[in-house]
Symmetry: C2
Subunit: 506 residues, 2 copies
Amino acid sequence: MQTLEKTHPKFSELKHRLTEIDDINAAASLLYWDQATYMPPQGLAARGRQLATLRQLAHEKLTDGAIAQLLDDLDTYAHDLPYDSDERSLLRLSRHLYEQAARVPASFTARLSRHRTECYQAWAQARPENDFALVQPYLEEMLELSQEWASFFPYDHIADPLIDLSDYGMKTEEIRRIFAELRQQLVPLVQAIATQPPLDDRCLHQVYPEAEQIAFGLSLIQQIGYDLSRGRQDKTLHPFMTNFSINDVRITTRVYETDLSQGLFSTIHEMGHALYELGNDPAFEGTPLAGGISSGVHESQSRLWENLVGRSRPFWQHFYPKLQQAFPTQLGTVPMESFYRAINKVAKSLIRTDADEVTYNLHVMIRFDLEVAMLEGKLAIKDLPEAWNERYRSDLGIVPDSDRNGVLQDVHWYSGRIGGMFQGYTLGNLMSAQFFEAAIAAHPGIPTQIATGQFETLHQWLRTNIYQHGRKYTAAELLLRVTGQSLNPAPLMAYLSRKYGDLYAL
Amino acid sequence: MQTLEKTHPKFSELKHRLTEIDDINAAASLLYWDQATYMPPQGLAARGRQLATLRQLAHEKLTDGAIAQLLDDLDTYAHDLPYDSDERSLLRLSRHLYEQAARVPASFTARLSRHRTECYQAWAQARPENDFALVQPYLEEMLELSQEWASFFPYDHIADPLIDLSDYGMKTEEIRRIFAELRQQLVPLVQAIATQPPLDDRCLHQVYPEAEQIAFGLSLIQQIGYDLSRGRQDKTLHPFMTNFSINDVRITTRVYETDLSQGLFSTIHEMGHALYELGNDPAFEGTPLAGGISSGVHESQSRLWENLVGRSRPFWQHFYPKLQQAFPTQLGTVPMESFYRAINKVAKSLIRTDADEVTYNLHVMIRFDLEVAMLEGKLAIKDLPEAWNERYRSDLGIVPDSDRNGVLQDVHWYSGRIGGMFQGYTLGNLMSAQFFEAAIAAHPGIPTQIATGQFETLHQWLRTNIYQHGRKYTAAELLLRVTGQSLNPAPLMAYLSRKYGDLYAL
């Protein structure tokens, strides 16, 4: 970003302010990371206060009139720059972030923030007690707040501004259209699989000691390309990725001693998120251009590594002998093919986060449809548990035994908002297949390389085509640039049909 | 802090602003803690920037005109409150902190901050290369900056404002007087010890594996009263204590496998710092009243636990059998008395941080005198190495073999400032003896309790008399309240003479 900085001091001033905000956000992220990893339990009360202060401060700095003025002053300069130049991209993104923040009154933000804490606490009590009624009034207020939030923006559909917060540029109607198309092809596949004998995954449910699982996962992701001089892995209750700079992108993991796949695939998943942000153009450091574009594109990278690579036969041709070495008593006599089938077992299940890659998107679509209906006023919160169960019956053919395993299972609505919280998971799955197809088209040798433990061609292709751009393009722009296509369920369906047709002899 | 908050909204407003600053400072402390413990190496560049941003932000918020206005507006209210009420103490301390920050121009702070980084980097290169000339111009500028810093304040002696930054209220002349008195009694003791056969500390220099050392240290400090639900211990290059709230006060440690005493006593030392801040009145949370008053009082607490308790015979009557159990091959046949003598060996040495409790204060006084002479313009930086070596010859009877083990050994001048950087160590030693004497006077059974592993009487006395007050009183006020005395070398000298008279049969 040299040119403009030399010619326009206001651009430098803007960048300086944006970096200050980025620094505050990085400190807030560290406060959260520490809370999840190492903080002594009694530090919690002060930590909540500190996080709120820093987030409020970042919000104040972003919505400062000086930022608006600088953006206005730089408007005519921006127009003379190529659309995809770093400078113009930064101005475009900053304008978007400024407006997304500035349209929302500070008093609303404070109200929402307080309610999120209260609603989360009610949920944290209601879920183990299986008591939806306890959290119902809080969720009703969360719905009202979400509707109010949307009202600060112009929209075609009330869910659009909320979807925009996670997947900028996506519209409710477009998602509905794509999801309908996907569903039409997915349901018959799930039904066909259901008629076949189930795969045997008992080999995954022996006892796998925690320390060995963590050591194996860490060596695996290092071989793929996760660099411990620029990241680290720690244990948390729920795995996540976070970054404090382009050169410090950390992941966390959790391990179940009687379920090998949980820790293994969540580690690869979070590594995928991390590789994305580690691959950002270093020139984006400290600016909003660093990071990932949208929840959909971010998820496309985690799922690409977790599923299209990590649950593939070539991947385990390389890693399975090493896994057997790490767990000789558990896997020494289990053939690779049995392990491959075990990690790809499809089952109609109640819990989204445990779902296989075929049924996963059905879980997501249920949630997306329900949140849209709530926002539209067509579904009252009091009727939500029944609506949830009804959709599980119709879409997956099973009914939750309890709200704990039904409507209370995900934290998203109870701690964030209603609207725009789930579509990214399926958008990510769709894009992961589109991106992977493009990578293979460019480098047909990738699967063969993976089978010999070489990941650099794929990693480099992803860096060049996706990672380095950070938040420069919208998801739709990036997808079109990289694949020549718009969002399209065909590659995912082709991949799933081929892979599971083989596995289930369809 | 109920009364005034209810009657004066401006007090609430001030407290709110101070807590916001405290939150920013806590985040900055966490950025630093993470850098020293878990940060991947390549995160360093961004981390430096983030720390600078947060510290700048805290400074801006503190020197905001609104704080000054609130303090002015609350002045008359403050005068109606008892001097030692929480409210009036907070106003008094805030006024002091505000003025300490506001008198210094922002441009100077930025200049100093940049120079500190540069000077530190030059030192980090110069020290291993034993090349004082390399860092000399940087240290010359550090001296000029330190003198300029002092010039923003009214003073009797140019070192006073710089001493004030660490030990509020102490004056150069008073320190000189006390140090002279201490020195007069200390030198003959050191000389008398030097005529005796040296104590044998070889038992400490066997191989003590790191993990076992850390486990033992952790169990020891937990038994004394360090609560891991409100703190934790991690490994760093240089041990330190830091806090992110009254309920999250952490320590770090380092361990040498061939020197048992380093890790052991630095763990107890940092625990002493931590107990102080953990014992603050919970009502002080998020306000400047939380923390420790001064570097001297803070050091008095770490040294009290490290030396007066941790190097005493009763302490090891309880802990030595446990230490023998932890290291049976190393210590199984070493009698407790031999161990006690080993950990109290006195030797004329070159390195302050390795010095025993008798000679330690001589190291400190050399540094104090030299920094005062530099500030006064009586000692040029170019002559500093020779002046340093000359003082070691005259005071300790040994001459550094190199500047690395001489004038380049401490980071303080090269990364902080010249002036006020060292006196706190000796003030702390003096006060540790004064406080301990007062505790024993109140509870003569303390040594007997320590010999049976009971620390609660002493801990509770320290909480009630020192810890809970946080930064409410100045060091001088606190000392007078607790001991009825002002600063006085007699208790330390009485303790040292008694203990080392016995050890060295003087």
